[in-house]
């Protein structure tokens, strides 16, 4: 704990905020793309320092074991996505899908989104976290509609309405948590601080906590994309610009799930409150099975990967619902690896869509022949996301299924069924996309492949050899979660 830590925490928040203002003002698109990437890189560096230097917990901000991993992950993926976004957006400008004015808007919104997500992860105040998540949601709503086609507007409107309803329910849950806390802790900021809440949770009124968690799970669960509250997710992924799909899948869903986890730990600390496990398990299982069936018969490539995100969020929720050190460890690792994998996949998909000029899967064929680097990247990505060894996601899914089997064999069977269904759908699609005779335009893809392969490298490394320090870290956090 040190004051140097406070400087870096401030940096993690101030750099995106300041660059947003700067990016809104600058007109030249090449400069803004580079500035975007630079700002994201600096934020990542500041966040990584937080591993070593932590500030003391304040009323508004806290850096503890749970969120330090996510903040580093979030800034890292933000950085790689900004690199991808640079080349992607240049192409969009050329084809005229975006005008320069909207480009400035896009870059400013991107940094505000980063700011919002960092603030949500770092906040120690449940109200402040709510504000940050709402800010992040609103920026993504604006960006999903940025192409202004009818389908994009419909997707953005649906996302806005469902997101707003979720946010409203989450705020009601937050107020109920405060109500439960303030009769024990006293009025004021202390009754809204995470560290105080977790410590004093056993003294809270269980009935209030139960109702609060219900609202919070429904509200933030909408943002995670759990079935049946998922209706906005496939459209938002399909119609928004690809960097936004990457950030949505990779980061924003994680932040929302992180919020649910925080509240779950408060709830679990109270012996009188109901066990949140079964509810989360059922929502997770429902999401996995529904999404894996929906993966078949999709014709839009980004929509398909949107459903895949729903499936993985379901797996993670299932894992945290099961609880226990092994399942929690697997869930945390899965969150991290899924971020990396899904964003990398979206990078590939973005370049593919630009090269082929379409997102319609029947029109995209034989990628490994026409665009070998992209094609094999996609193969690697789909193999990773489907859970093939030696990629990291195989290990986490294996862990989840085995721990579940040891405790509730029927649930494990259901989960396994869902996973296999998804696996089959993805491989079927991959076959069509990557192999066979090339189809459609063969324009070269102006792409930066570094982010893609960097992510895959990390996922592969995690699958093959996870550094012991990191393993220990995850286990420690898993034990905090019960």
């Amino acid at each position: 704990m040190s004051d140097a830590g406070s400087v870096f925490v401030g940096a993690v928040l101030l750099i995106p905020a300041a660059s947003a203002a700067l990016l809104a003002a600058l007109p030249d698109d090449r400069v803004t793309a580079r500035l975007n990437a630079l700002a994201s890189f600096l934020t990542f560096v500041a966040a990584s320092v937080l591993f070593f230097e932590r500030p003391p917990p304040g009323h508004y901000l806290i850096v503890d074991d749970l969120n330090v991993v996510f903040i580093v992950l979030s800034t890292f993926v933000g950085f790689t996505t900004s690199m991808f976004s640079g080349s992607y957006i240049a192409h969009e400008l050329e084809t005229g899908r975006l005008t320069p004015l909207y480009l400035r808007f896009y870059h400013a919104m991107y940094q505000i989104l980063m700011f919002g997500m960092n603030l949500a992860l770092l906040s120690n105040n449940i109200g402040l976290m709510w504000v940050a998540i709402e800010l992040a949601t609103l920026t993504t709503v604006l960006m999903v509609g940025i192409y202004r086609t009818p389908a994009a507007l419909e997707a953005a409107w649906k996302y806005f309405l469902l997101g707003s309803v979720g946010i409203a329910l989450a705020l009601f849950g937050t107020i109920l948590v405060y109500l439960a806390a303030h009769s024990v802790v006293g009025e004021g900021l202390d009754a809204m601080a995470w560290n105080v809440l977790v410590r004093r949770a056993p003294e809270f009124d269980p009935a209030l906590l139960n109702l609060a968690f219900l609202f919070l799970l429904l509200g933030y669960g909408t943002k995670v994309g759990l079935v049946p509250l998922h209706a906005w997710l496939p459209d938002a992924h399909a119609e928004g610009p690809t960097p936004i799909s990457a950030v949505l899948s990779g980061l924003l869903l994680n932040v929302a799930l992180f919020a649910v986890l925080r509240f779950k730990s408060v709830l679990s600390a109270n012996p009188g409150a109901f066990a949140p496990g079964p509810l989360m398990v059922s929502l997770g299982l429902l999401s996995v099975i529904f999404a894996s069936f929906m993966l078949y018969r999709r014709h839009d490539i980004k929509r398909m990967f949107g459903y895949s995100s729903i499936e993985h969020m379901g797996i993670i929720t299932f894992a945290f619902g099961m609880g226990g050190p092994l399942a929690n460890f697997a869930g945390l690792l899965h969150m991290t690896l899924h971020s990396l994998t899904k964003s990398a996949i979206f990078f590939c998909v973005g370049h593919i869509a630009q090269a082929k000029g379409t997102q319609h899967m029947p029109d995209i064929r034989g990628l490994t022949v026409s665009h070998p680097v992209l094609g094999w990247g996609l193969v690697l990505g789909v193999a990773a996301i489907a859970g093939l060894p030696p990629m990291g996601l195989f290990m986490t899914e294996f862990l989840i299924v085995t721990t579940t089997f040891a405790r509730h064999p029927l649930l494990a069977i259901a989960l396994g069924l869902g996973l296999l269904t998804g696996f089959g759908a993805l491989l079927l699609r991959l076959n069509g996309l990557a192999f066979g005779d090339p189809h459609g335009s063969g324009a070269p893809a102006r792409a930066s492949f570094v982010p893609v392969y960097a992510h895959f490298g990390l996922v592969l490394a995690a699958g093959v050899w996870l550094p012991p320090a990191l393993t220990e870290w995850f286990q420690h956090v898993a034990s905090l979660l019960r």
């Binding site: 953005a156 309405l161 707003s164 409203a168 009025e187 009935a207 459209d235």
Partner: protein, 220 residues
Amino acid sequence: MDRLALDVAHLFAGGLVLVSFMLLYQDRMTGLVNNFALHALVVSLAVAWQAHIQHAPHLYITAAIALGVKAIVIPLALHRIIVQLGIHRTIETVVGIGQTMLAGIGLVALSIIVMLPITAKAGTLAQQDLAFALSVLLLGLLMMISRRNAVSQVIGFMSIENGLILAATGAKGMPLVVEISVAFSILIALIVIGVFLFRIRERFDTVDIHALHEYRGEQP
């Protein structure tokens, strides 16, 4: 707690539920916007009264924000949007008004049954405010579900926010952070709403979301 103070708080909170029902009943666009202005006015009065009896002067700011932004600025802006877009006509509903009202009564009864026993230890004032706030929230959700018009869905959402303001002030001593955040989100929502209404109109010459249904995005 002083009897009169409690009764007046009950008056305002119950009045808010009544105005939410009036919102459900409205089938004309301009009437809807005026009703919403009344809704915001009642909520600001309720918050101001809470500020008085809780001796929490910072809540007066919240009341002023609710009054200024939601009771005056937003209805005026919506009136202008309605005139400019030329959409002042009746609003279609998914089911009849009678059934909607009965569903609304059911939701109010449900929220009272759920909230009263749970908040029994928290004091009478918080109990009432939370039960009524949840009713307003559920009625706003009902309004969003049962209307086919984008403007009325937005108004339903804003009435949900009003209910949440009532809940937040009922929970005594919730710090200023939440009040600023609620006001902040109102402002951003207004910007987004304005942008979207113009974009939707631009694209469809209508704000009837039935026209959007072709692009529902559920095709593969």
